[in-house]
Point group: C2
Chain length 328, copies 2
Amino acid sequence: MPGKLGEREIIRILTGIYGKGTRSPLDFDDDVAAVPLTGKRWMILKSDMLVGSTDVPPGMSLWQAGRKAVVATVSDFAAKGIRPRALMVSLGLPASFGKRAILEIGSGLDKGAREYQCKIVGGDTNQSDDLVIDCTGAGECDPGTLVRRDGARPGDVVAVTGKFGNSAAGLRLLLSKKKMNWSRAGTLTRAVFLPRARLKEGLILARTGMATSSIDSSDGLAWSLHELARSSSVGIHLETVPLAREAKEFAEKNGISPVELALYGGEEYELVVTVRREGFERVRRRVPALIPIGRVRQGPPAVTANVGEKTIRVEARGWEHFRKNVND
Amino acid sequence: MPGKLGEREIIRILTGIYGKGTRSPLDFDDDVAAVPLTGKRWMILKSDMLVGSTDVPPGMSLWQAGRKAVVATVSDFAAKGIRPRALMVSLGLPASFGKRAILEIGSGLDKGAREYQCKIVGGDTNQSDDLVIDCTGAGECDPGTLVRRDGARPGDVVAVTGKFGNSAAGLRLLLSKKKMNWSRAGTLTRAVFLPRARLKEGLILARTGMATSSIDSSDGLAWSLHELARSSSVGIHLETVPLAREAKEFAEKNGISPVELALYGGEEYELVVTVRREGFERVRRRVPALIPIGRVRQGPPAVTANVGEKTIRVEARGWEHFRKNVND
């Protein structure tokens, strides 16, 4: 959020107001919000707002923007191991949009919902200067099955559901003026245009009872790791930075740091989880996508990583909006 | 929605896509969306998006805009007789907004939530050109207690929870260039700046088991009556048009039709309900605000009203956004 205040400062101000005198079962900054209905049943809610001028990169179609809005919301449910039952979608639409544009957005939203077996049950429609797609997911769960952010314990394995960097590389490709004639370009831009949420993996992980903490990676891998470390009051050390092959090639071709792409890029929708050491191999058989990348350590919340021969401190920098990156 | 397509046409296109192959327990155009969790329990959701350039009239503060966004969402729950348990609020904020603006919006939202004993549990924050406040309420209910739109039966009493026209008059006052030095001006602008949702009344009405159909009046009284008539396949005749005193005076002073203000103005948040004739007096003792205005009749969905010595046909015109009215 490149305005006068950062996005996190705005959230701090707002949660300071909303949170006064009330107790929530989950922190305001967890992936989802929980509303206890009974001791055994929580309602789970998550909203994700996509704004045309800051969240829709050049080249992304309205269909893809609609679908992505759903993926972003579902991804947070995935991280907690909860199935979203229904989606509400509010649209702010520029006055210039005709029937074709509406059909495109609506079909993209519908496709996203069907991919994750949830239904769009309602919403609202307004005219606005910017395209706005606000997608709210709703589900429910037994509190015991929800995988929080604060359960990581020293010795746990740190793992991710896929490799990182393609989305950050794809975004750089789309934002750069020069066309790139390169066979892998499609893989990179596809990572931006057609992200997927790891709902299946998240649901299985939660059911194993072995995942001690979990978060999605829409703000970048580094940010997610720092969030788990901070919430759980532990340190995290990565033996390896999970870098996608195409992102590595892109970085080499363009003289930029591949580790930078993997750690501080975004918007990826992989899950970042910690799993009890003794259960890890069993969990991995059920979630073959899972890649172990490090260990939880005792100590103050800090994140370090082996990069080549060196150990680096991973910074608590995250992904904000692409408009920010353009101005970097 | 003054764009190329009307708001209702856009909703028709979208629900045509979302609704394909699925069955919902409530129509897409009912006040809320329902998600059956078990036979005895439905999750209830409602989103209402407020956009600065079309929904915030001149003179309305950010605090009032925040509070109004909550009122608009709660009002639909009120119409169905369901308590919203939690609210999610997504904000699109112009880059120019500083800490003071955020505090104002947040405090207005929080005030609205507290008035109706529900909690803001989460949301999202983005930069956007327009101010956008999208408020999603979530609750649950026993399907048997929800008051639908399609239950009105011939003979039922048509009633409202308050008189109409002040909000439409207030809006005209705010949009007109000339200042009005008149003791009632404050009452009219207050109706615009500080609307209230009839949650208490809606909850009691539902509990009496005597309300056969219900809708809120945010699109105007005429539109609400037509919706009840259409959904229930009945006619509605008003013996009287419930016109607020201040709106009547405003109309007389300005040479405009008072009935026009009451029927086709908006955004009012009164409830429009039908109640079984034999239970009406009993219901009214429990909801003293209730004003009987007419009767449900057998016949095709049409709405008529006694105005003076004449019977008029009430048109199916509704409130859209105030920007539209400015251009009238």
